[in-house]
């Protein structure tokens, strides 16, 4: 009866597998499941992953939802700021089913239906919040004036409170701007203004450059002149020192001023007739007076 035993075991296994398929359902990690009994949701959704018991169809049915954070972006839409600037804004959000029990009856588990509701709420929240702010709250070099984050948080709070009031079972995890743009006609004027600013910048840069270069050059000239003037002063001082040193020697000459005077004249003579001089003498000038008294050369009377 060995053959029969195997057959029975196999048969039992098949029955067990079939029963499991009918009576057991899995909730995957990150999923949430709603079980309905005759189309009425049971008390608690199954949020923890694992295998659970259910009655087979058509008594109970299982609906599973992704509990992870899902991305949603609205289509760009035009919004007026408080100072009447038209902004074209695109917002992205991360949302998540926080309460499957509320979510299921509202949308019959349809994510696109939920996103349609979300889009509408985003748009009205965006209009309401942006309408309270000036353009300078969106773009500003001063971190204290920039309210970018604050605006995002305000929109998020408005959307979240709308979702909570209607008990949609949806939670917004994060929300931010994806695009902030201007209408095409406005970009043209922005381009004109930018061009204007560039041209101003160009002429400013040119003029500044010239002025700075001039400042540098004239400072250099002044400094050079100063350096030379200082050197001249130093030179005068040095020469003065020399003269002072010479003055110490002067008493030597005072021993006989006549000799000193005579020697100076001799030196002056030597110096002045050093070269390229033509001298015209008459015979009485020594040493040519030798010619006068020379017997053979006596002038005829």
């Amino acid at each position: 009866m060995k053959r029969n035993a195997i057959t029975i075991v196999i048969g039992v296994m098949l029955v067990v597998i079939f029963a499991l398929l009918l009576f057991v359902f899995q909730v995957r990690q990150s999923e949430v499941a709603i079980v309905t009994t005759f189309e009425k949701p049971t008390a608690q959704p199954y949020e923890k992953p694992g295998a659970y018991f259910k009655w087979p169809w058509p008594i109970q049915k299982v609906y599973k939802f992704d509990q992870r954070i899902q991305n949603f972006e609205d289509k760009f839409s035009q919004t007026l700021t408080a100072d009447n600037n038209n902004l074209i804004v695109t917002i992205y959000t991360g949302w998540q089913i926080s309460d499957a029990k509320s979510f299921y009856p509202k949308f019959q588990g349809s994510v696109p239906a939920a996103q349609r509701i979300l889009e509408g709420m985003l748009r009205s929240a965006q209009n309401a919040v942006i309408g309270k702010h000036n353009l300078s709250d969106f773009v500003n070099a001063d971190p204290k004036e920039l309210k970018f984050d604050a605006i995002e948080n305000e929109i998020k709070a408005v959307v979240q409170s709308g979702l909570s009031t209607n008990d949609y079972g949806i939670q917004i995890e994060f929300l931010g701007f994806k695009k902030i743009e201007l209408p095409a006609s406005v970009t043209e004027t922005v381009f004109d203004r930018m061009k204007n600013e560039r041209q101003k910048l160009i002429s400013k840069t040119e003029n500044e450059g010239k002025a700075e270069a001039q400042i540098i050059e004239s400072a250099a000239d002044r400094q050079a002149a100063e350096t030379i003037a200082n050197a001249d002063a130093a030179a005068t001082r040095i020469r003065g020192e020399g003269e002072a040193a010479a003055a110490m020697v002067l008493p030597v000459f005072q021993q006989n001023p006549a000799l000193a005077n005579y020697l100076l004249r001799i030196d002056a003579l030597k110096q002045s007739l050093n070269q390229r001089a033509t001298l015209i003498f008459d015979e009485r000038t020594p040493p040519f007076d030798l010619f006068l008294n020379f017997p053979t050369n006596a002038p005829s009377r």
Binding site: I6, T7, L14, Q26, R28, Q29, G50, R68, I69, N71, E73, F76, Y92, V139, A141, P143, D149, F174, G176, F177, K179, I180, E181, P183, A184, T187, M194, K195, R198, I202, T205, K210, E217, A220, Q223, A225, I228, N230, G242, A246, V252, Q255, N256, L259, Y262, L263, L269, K270, N274, Q275, R276, A277, T278, L279, F281, D282, P286, F288, F291, P299
Partner: protein, 364 residues
């Protein structure tokens, strides 16, 4: 179902007694085909359990979900590189997560619209598509703090640090990362002036974008670590010429300043050299002056006794010696005294430049 098959049919061939060669051959064929079916079933069972084996590669982590629930606790949920076995679906499900592999996302929301061909052309040759007015539906851009329009785009490189969170908390975490990169570009551009983004502080802008993405991904606990962020920003194509002109003007200004600085150093070096030469000359003059006067004093002291012994003789000697010395160098004319004792009239033709002495100049 197949086992039942076996149960139904296998006993049949045994009672049949082969009465002719034909039916014997049939029975033989049936027996062998049942053997083949048995082997096939065995193989299927082996394959069913064998299919549970899987390999986790070096750069991956894997999670086994048993009835949808991760197997293990804490860090043990994540399986490192190696071979593993799991029950086949639907009992177990293996989720593999690339953990060390660098992931990247691009943000082009701040760039003008390009067709695929234009994009390829731009990336390979840098040729930009023709510029038209910006269409908010298609073209992207960012507004700067000084309300200029620029195009900016970025590529973010990251790797997954917390695989459980990255995979099981976010539907498509990479999309979220991308949107946060978009937001970071927009936000950072809104804080920077156009010149800082494009020229003056390109690195600062990139760092600020990186900082913002980092803040956002940490706030939302995306479970990633950012490795790098590359940002590229350009002026709108419509204004490219005038922006280029600004750059040229800046370069010209720098050149002007460089020229001024080189003029400055040249003038200062020259002045320094001149000053040094003035001072050196003065010092040399001083030395020479002092030395010559000292030498003269010495000569005076030497000559004084001779002079005092006979002043007239000394004076004549000194005079003649000096004149003799002078006359060797000078051109000289000797004019005889007139017979009547009167002076003669002498006419001289003076060159502006007196002729060079014929003899070599002697040292004084």
């Amino acid at each position: 179902m197949s086992p039942e098959h076996e149960h139904d049919h296998e006993p049949h061939p045994t009672p049949v007694t082969p009465d002719d060669a034909g039916s014997q051959a049939l029975a033989e064929a049936l027996r062998s085909s049942f053997a083949i079916v048995k082997i096939a079933m065995l193989l299927m069972v082996v394959a069913f359990f064998g299919s549970g084996g899987f390999k986790v590669r070096q750069q991956e982590k894997a999670v086994i979900l048993r009835f949808g629930k991760p197997v293990g606790e804490g860090q043990k949920i994540l399986l490192g590189a190696g071979w593993y076995w799991s029950y086949p679906y639907p009992i177990d499900e293996v989720v593999k997560i690339p953990i060390t592999e660098i992931q990247s996302v691009d943000s082009t929301m701040g760039w003008y619209a390009m067709t695929h061909e234009q994009e390829v052309l731009y990336k390979t040759t840098g040729v930009e598509p023709p510029a038209g007015p910006l269409n908010p539906a298609a073209d992207g851009y960012a507004l700067t703090a000084d309300r200029n329009i620029i195009h900016t785009r970025a590529t973010l490189y990251y790797h997954i640090a917390d695989p459980m969170r990255y995979v099981f908390t976010f539907e498509t975490a990479s999309n979220t990362v991308q949107n946060e990169l978009n937001n970071a570009l927009l936000y950072t551009a809104a804080r920077f002036n156009v010149d800082d983004i494009l020229t003056r502080d390109v690195a600062g802008f990139q760092d600020a974008v990186l900082q913002r993405v980092n803040d956002l991904t940490e706030r939302d606990q995306l479970g990633i670590v950012i490795d790098n962020c590359q940002v590229q920003s350009i002026a709108p194509r419509q204004l490219q010429d005038v922006f280029n002109l600004v750059t040229t003007t800046r370069e010209n200004r720098n050149k002007l300043l460089n020229d001024a600085h080189s003029y400055e150093s040249q003038v200062l070096i020259h002045a320094g050299a001149q000053a040094k030469s003035i001072i050196d000359t003065a010092s040399a003059d001083r030395t020479r002056f002092v030395e010559s006067i000292t030498a003269e004093a010495k000569r005076f002291n030497d000559l004084l006794p001779k002079y005092e012994s006979n002043p007239n003789l000394f004076a004549q000697q000194a005079y003649l010696q000096a004149v003799g010395q002078v006359l060797t160098n000078a051109e000289k004319w000797i004019q005889p005294t007139a017979e009547n004792g009167k002076s003669r009239e002498v006419r001289l033709m003076l060159n502006r430049e007196p002729p060079a002495p014929k003899t070599a100049p002697a040292n004084p």
